[in-house]
Amino acid sequence: MFHCLLANARFWTGDLWYALTAIVAISLVYAATRHERMAPIFRHAGRVFLWITGFMVVVFVIMQLISLRA
């Protein structure tokens, strides 16, 4: 079961690397619309990046578990 999970994970994480670029850009632009100076922009962008990435990881794990076949 876990072998299957890891095999699936390896396949899909290959595609997920593309998302990093988008998440970085989205985090920076979103944070920049909320602040004027660079220090708070980067701090906020870091939090947004972690939030989006964490959300995607949770959804990813749930999808992997749902797709498992005995």
Partner: protein, 207 residues
């Protein structure tokens, strides 16, 4: 001249003419902020938005293919960003056009394709043929006969074709946020907005 407030220091931000700033921000991401003297944010917006758009352009190309005569061609780049309305409605472009001038070559390429003129720059941002039947109907005399069909781009570029379109779309939509920032300044955190009325209520209660 319009002003906004820095959410941290509460210092005024000179937005100059917000309409001009908004227009410039649409034409080139960050240019509106540069015009307002907000140079650091200008660079940040430009790098983040145009970086993502450029990544999409690179993803949407870089493959070689053979045409019906067996001759080898290169897809070129920027295939994920193109304008087409009939018969394929490429809705991605509605978002992609948010990056302004950088998405304009797609309109020129679509016009050339529609008027049976040879597309430029190796097919950069040129719309693909909607189907093989339409390309065959256009005939070998058509200067764009060597251009790929939509299905061929899907096959040769694989998932990168769709990713390229989506990255361009996201970049365009992010620039809409940047345009708003150029026109109205940074959005204050919602919690601070909520705190102000509460403080007023406390003052009223104390009185």
């Amino acid at each position: 001249m319009a002003e906004a407030l820095d959410p941290e220091s509460h210092e005024p931000i000179n937005l100059k003419d917000p309409m001009i700033a908004g227009l410039l921000a649409w034409l080139v991401p960050g240019l509106g902020h540069w015009y307002q003297g907000r140079r650091e944010k200008a660079v940040l917006y430009f790098v983040a938005i145009m970086g993502l758009f450029l990544f999409g352009l690179i993803l949407g190309g870089g493959a070689t293919y053979r045409d019906v005569d067996g001759r080898e061609h290169h897809t070129g780049y920027g295939r994920g960003v193109y304008f087409s309305w009939n018969p394929e409605k490429r809705l991605h472009y509605l978002g992609q056009v948010g990056v302004g001038l950088a998405a304009m070559p797609a309109l020129l390429q679509a016009a050339l394709m529609n008027h049976n003129e040879k597309v430029l720059w190796g097919g950069f941002m040129a719309p693909p043929w909607p189907s093989d039947a339409m390309r065959s109907a256009a005939g070998r005399d058509n200067p764009n006969f060597d251009q790929p069909t939509r299905a061929e781009l899907d096959r040769w570029l694989n998932r990168r074709f769709e990713l390229a379109g989506v990255f361009g779309l996201i970049a365009g939509l992010l620039n809409v946020l940047a345009i708003y920032d150029a026109c109205a300044g940074p959005v204050p955190p919602a919690s601070k907005k909520d705190e102000e009325p509460r403080e007023e209520k406390k003052d009223e209660a104390a009185a």
